[in-house]
């Protein structure tokens, strides 16, 4: 896998150790970050940004997005969670950069979730003799993974170099791991989907069709074996960044994403399969929706300060829509999913839409949390202050860095 000089920069995950201790609970974000001595002191990020007219190169990325109403709501959220957070920044400009990703990436997350969940449903349907559910789920998975891959490639700065992803395997890069997961998953999903499409065609292609029919089950099962990875790695893709709202969600986001995947693919199954076959799809969808809603709630508690962006502006609207649609879809599934084909289809659509809103909402939260440097600076400043205090308490002589700048009058 690595030859020549180019790959020398990689690191091996096996050489690293990460003591998985102290799964931190909810972070305390209500500390008052006072003005730092010797600097211009506080002022909320909004005030700083206003003072500097949103200077820097970040204009157009979320500034003013959400309009007045959004800003008011955001102020309210700020007041609730961090009454007096003041901090210093460089003219209110972002400290970290948001990934230059556009709508193609949340689409890729959404479609990846549908594909992963659908392959599982297809395999189950195959093994338990539910041909209609199997057909819908296999074709759905194939379509979704195709769109997902196309979106991923389209979002590259140099799409023609997509295959460079396959030069290396790096466990430290979720995008690398994900590319290999998709590479392993894709062929099985596509063969299983193609077999279903071939059966729908009025003509048969002789031995080719026979071969396809024979290969469909092993291919579908192979895809299903990797499908959970397809649905979950995308969470790590987002959380393994310096983007505050994404990184802070790293404990729960994989569970939110697989829940969302189950809800969406279950919804698709309910949409495509008749009611008497769609029982497992309904259960899958309801379980997924419940998990997504519950864990998402927990995530907002554990994220700390950056959870704010999930309540404001565009991400806030998307997350609210996601919760409403997912809850409505799950409720509809429980109430009418078993009785009415139309009711099942509508519930399925609501679940799909809810999952899409989750992906777009979580995605949009990333750039929003980058745009306001507060989310980068305040938690780090708190951490630094805590560490300095702990070091001082532990009797270590405070380093020069720890002493505050002299204040003279």
């Amino acid at each position: 896998m690595t030859e020549g000089g180019y790959e020398r920069g990689q690191q091996e995950v096996g050489k690293a150790a990460n003591p998985d201790i102290n799964e931190a609970g909810p972070k305390n974000t209500t500390d008052d970050i006072g003005a730092i001595p010797g600097t211009q002191g506080g002022g909320s990020a909004a005030a700083t940004a206003q003072r500097t007219a949103g200077g820097g190169r970040s204009e157009g990325r979320g500034d003013g997005r959400g309009g007045r109403g959004g800003r008011r709501k955001r102020r309210r959220a700020e007041e609730q969670m961090v009454p007096d957070a003041t901090f210093t920044s460089y003219y209110g400009r972002p400290v970290v950069k948001a990934a230059p990703w556009e709508a193609a990436i949340p689409l890729y997350l959404f479609m990846g979730g549908i594909a992963g969940g659908s392959s599982l449903l297809a395999a189950g349907a195959d093994l338990t003799g539910r041909p209609a559910l199997r057909r819908g789920a296999r074709i759905g998975a194939t379509g979704a993974i195709t769109i997902s891959l196309a979106a991923l490639v389209a979002d590259l700065g140099r799409p023609e170099r997509f295959l460079n992803m396959l030069r290396v395997f790096k466990p430290t890069s979720p995008m690398s791991v994900g590319t290999w997961i998709l590479t392993a998953y894709g062929p099985g999903a596509v063969v299983a989907g193609a077999a279903e499409v071939a059966k729908l065609l009025p003509v048969r292609f002789g031995v080719l069709s026979t071969l396809l029919d024979w290969a469909a089950r092993p291919a579908g099962l192979a895809a299903a074996a990797i499908a959970p990875g397809v649905a979950s790695y995308t969470a790590v893709l987002l959380t393994n960044t310096s983007t505050p709202a994404w990184h802070d969600a790293h404990r729960e986001l994989p569970f939110v994403f697989v829940g969302s995947a189950a809800a969406a693919s279950g919804g698709l199954g309910m949409l495509l399969a008749p009611v008497h076959e769609a029982g497992p799809a309904r259960l899958f969808a309801v379980a997924g929706a419940a998990a997504e809603l519950a864990v998402e709630h927990r995530m907002e508690r554990s994220m700390g300060l950056s959870a704010e962006v999930l309540h404001a502006g565009t991400p806030g609207r998307l997350m609210r829509a996601s919760k409403a649609l997912t809850a409505a879809g799950a409720l509809g599934t429980l109430l009418v999913g078993r009785r009415s084909r139309v009711g099942a289809a509508l519930s399925g659509l609501a679940l799909l839409a809810g999952s899409a809103c989750t992906r777009f909402g979580v995605f949009e939260a990333g750039p929003a949390s980058v745009h306001d440097p507060k989310y980068t600076i305040v938690p780090q400043r708190e951490r630094l202050n805590r560490r300095r205090a702990a070091e001082a308490a532990a009797g270590q002589p405070p380093t020069g860095e720890a002493s505050p700048p002299a204040q003279e009058t």
Partner: protein, 375 residues
């Protein structure tokens, strides 16, 4: 995939836990073996690690480094005559087209808080010779300052304090200037997350993008804890045929400081350090620079500049010590630096574990759905 044993690695580096699970180096993916990051990355008998010590206390904000970097590396312009209207800094931030960035911080802070030992052009802040650094690179400069009449080097100020009778009292402004650059981290987030291997560790321990490998996925942009690297926007060369539009070099590709890899290979000093007229940017072997930096910060603190602190240099810090570190006169966030950066991959084993659990949960849910749906 297997991961390292999630238990503490030995080593006496354990830091005081700040209460959120971040413990510093031994929790991170460490690129720094005892032999340094280049050896860790597989280079055999690499040369000594190269880097920068940027001493912002003597930066005069001339932007020579910014210009020299653009010139040497052929970095395209960001825009024409953009004025940000916030300070003398009209560049704004590091990015694909800004590999060195000179920052100007204007503070309403009494000048007395800023005795840097630098007296050029600001007679009132002159400090006694006993305070001035006599041995290091500043020595000769400081001495010459005292031998010669003071000259105005064009320090940016609204009113040069007491420069003219009309200037009146000294204002309460102080200026901080800092030349920002890629930190060439020991544990580099950009390098860790790059899925193509376009980013690599050079034999000098630096982190460089290979323009012809990068496919512009943009992951490194979000991976960097300092907001350094970015994807270049511009007109791409057509895949086939010829285009009449002017093409931007490396458009769509991630770009950042290379620590002048080409110059290092020829034993030359990087362009920015070469151009710096005050030796604010000092280039050299990281070990030696670190010693110099520690001495300098101690001297400044002894001289009463209590805000003086080293930034990103600590090998036990969140990025394992940077190849390019800084002496700051105020807290890092004042300069737009993250106060306590930790490489994102420090949490990655835990992330993979949670993703694995979530995947297992999904599989179990699917199985249960079919078993339960049997009824």
């Amino acid at each position: 995939m297997t991961h390292g044993d999630p238990a503490h690695q030995g080593g006496g580096h354990a830091r005081v836990d700040a209460g959120d699970g971040h413990l510093g180096l031994d929790q991170a993916f460490t690129s720094a073996g005892p032999a340094g990051p280049a050896a860790h990355a597989g280079w055999e008998a690499p040369p000594s690690r190269k880097g920068f010590f940027t001493d912002t206390s003597i930066c005069i904000g001339c932007k020579a480094c910014e210009v020299a970097c653009k010139e040497w590396n052929g970095v395209p312009q960001d825009g024409i005559y953009e004025l940000l209207g916030s300070s003398y800094d009209n560049t704004g931030a590091l990015g694909a087209n800004t590999w060195r960035h000179v920052e100007f911080i204007e503070q309403r802070t009494p000048m007395a808080g800023l005795d840097t030992g630098i007296t050029i052009g600001v007679p009132e802040t002159a400090v006694g010779p006993d305070v001035l650094v006599s041995e290091d690179i500043l020595g000769s400069m400081a001495r010459s300052v005292h031998d010669k009449p003071l000259v105005d080097l064009g320090m940016p100020a609204f009113d040069l304090p007491s420069a003219s009778p009309d200037a009146g009292e000294r204002t309460e402004f102080r200026w901080l200037m800092a030349s920002n650059v890629c930190k060439h981290c020991t544990n580099a987030g950009c390098l860790d997350v790059c899925p193509t291997g376009a980013l690599f560790r050079t034999e000098f321990g630096t982190v460089v993008v290979q323009d012809d490998i990068c496919n512009g996925c943009g992951y490194c942009v979000a991976g960097c804890p300092f907001g350094v690297i970015d994807r270049r926007i511009g007109q791409k060369a057509p895949l086939v045929g010829h285009s009449d539009k002017p093409v931007t070099k490396n458009a769509g590709v991630a770009q950042k400081c290379t620590l002048c890899y080409d110059r290092l290979l020829d034993d030359l000093t990087p362009a920015c350090a070469k151009a710096c007229p005050t030796q604010s940017i000092q280039f050299g072997d990281v070990d030696e620079l670190r010693e110099r930096a520690e001495k300098r910060v101690a001297d400044l603190q002894a001289a009463g500049v209590m805000g003086a602190q080293l930034y990103a240099e600590d090998p036990e810090g969140g990025v394992g010590g940077a190849g390019a570190f800084f002496l700051l006169l105020d807290e890092p966030e004042v300069y737009g630096f993250p106060p306590d950066p930790i490489v994102t991959t420090a949490d990655l084993p835990r992330m993979w574990k949670h993703a694995g659990l979530a995947a297992a949960g999904l599989l179990a849910a699917a199985a249960a759905a079919f078993l339960g749906g049997r009824r």
